[in-house]
């Protein structure tokens, strides 16, 4: 008899506690949850950010020996204003949703790395066209979102641009008929065989 009362008393006590939790306990639970969340979220994002640096991108020789060397000769590596565009600036979306989607796709590329898909210069060149076509497709679909993160059409000063730039930007670009990547292929790397690509010979 006495036992059951204690038992019921215990359950009741917990019940009561759940109904009206002591502020301290509640505070502890909340705080722990909060800290865990921060650690997880932070860790996750830190890990994401770590993979979002140029050092990471050229950490493997496939990138360091091929695209990076070529990119070093272009305007996005060195220019009069000293503002650089790094690999993720052009290749990884800035906003979270698109970034995660791109990162999940990138995990397939890790598989490519493990299986030595492009581990020599020759293999890289053999596959360059399909990789380039995929990037062009992605940029076309996003209306060159990554380019526009830095270059905003609204703020282009036509009086400062060359004649040829203005004649294209004020027409095909302004009307939305074309997007940056339609006209600016090969801006950061050597091109693959352009046979059959629109606008090329």
């Amino acid at each position: 008899m006495a036992n059951t009362t204690t038992k019921r008393g215990l359950i009741a006590r917990y019940g009561a506690l759940l109904k009206r939790p002591s502020t301290v306990a509640m505070g502890v639970i909340l705080a722990l949850g909060f800290i865990a969340g921060v650690v997880f979220w932070g860790g996750f994002n830190t890990a994401l950010e770590m993979t979002n640096t140029e050092t990471f991108c050229i950490g493997c020789h496939e990138m360091e020996d091929n695209v990076y060397q070529e990119y070093k000769e272009t305007i996005h590596y060195s220019n009069r204003s000293g503002v650089r565009a790094t690999c993720p600036d052009c290749h990884v979306p800035k906003d979270w949703t698109h970034k995660i989607v791109r990162k999940i796709q990138a995990s397939q590329e890790v598989w490519g790395k493990l299986t030595g898909f492009i581990n020599t210069r020759d293999k890289f060149l053999d596959h360059r066209k399909e990789m380039a076509l995929r990037e062009w497709q992605r940029m076309k679909e996003s209306d060159s979102r990554e380019c526009r993160n830095c270059h905003n059409f609204e703020y282009m000063d036509f009086s400062e641009q060359g004649k040829r730039s203005v004649s294209m930007h004020s027409t095909a670009l302004a009307s939305g008929e074309k997007t940056c990547i339609d006209c600016h292929k090969g801006i950061a790397h050597h091109l693959p065989d352009m046979d059959g690509v629109e606008g090329w010979h």
């Binding site: 641009q161 040829r164 090969g186 050597h190 091109l191």
Partner: protein
């Protein structure tokens, strides 16, 4: 007498040669005069204007000068940046001058269906101009047909 003359000549010649070697100054070139043992201050880098009016030509068959910047324009086996604007398929959209018929001809005078291999590397013949002042005067007269007078 003849021997003496040869000797004198040899001595004179070696003296002259000696002075020529020891005298390092006062050498004049188009870049001004600098002592041979000094390193000359380099000129400022010349700039190529982004776009300008097309250049007048001075003689028939002159490859016209390029009136725009060509930095980063690649011409190789895979792609030809110049033709992406100057080819017959693309010139209308880009507003560029189309390449002329001669660019399709082989050296035997046959006309090919596409740019002739000997005209594929545009910068062999066409070059842009920097804003540098000419170092020497030039009295070349534009041929009558292009003189515009």
């Amino acid at each position: 007498m003849k021997k003496l003359a040869t000797l004198l000549f040899a001595v004179l010649a070696s003296c002259l040669a000696g002075t020529a070697i020891s005298d390092t100054g006062g050498l004049n070139s188009l870049r001004g005069s600098t002592d041979l043992d000094k390193v000359r201050q380099a000129d400022d880098m010349k700039r190529i204007p982004r776009d300008r009016e097309t250049f007048e030509r001075d003689y028939l068959h002159q490859p016209p000068l390029i009136p725009h910047q060509v930095r980063g324009y690649v011409v190789d086996l895979n792609s030809n940046k110049c033709l992406s604007c100057h080819s017959w398929t693309n010139y209308k959209k880009s507003g560029a001058t189309k390449i002329s018929m001669t660019h399709f001809a082989t050296r035997d005078g046959q006309t090919l269906a596409d740019v002739s291999p000997r005209r594929y590397f545009c910068m062999q013949c066409h070059v842009p101009q920097s804003d540098a002042k000419p170092l020497v005067d030039n009295s070349f007269k534009t041929v009558d047909a292009l003189d515009g007078k």
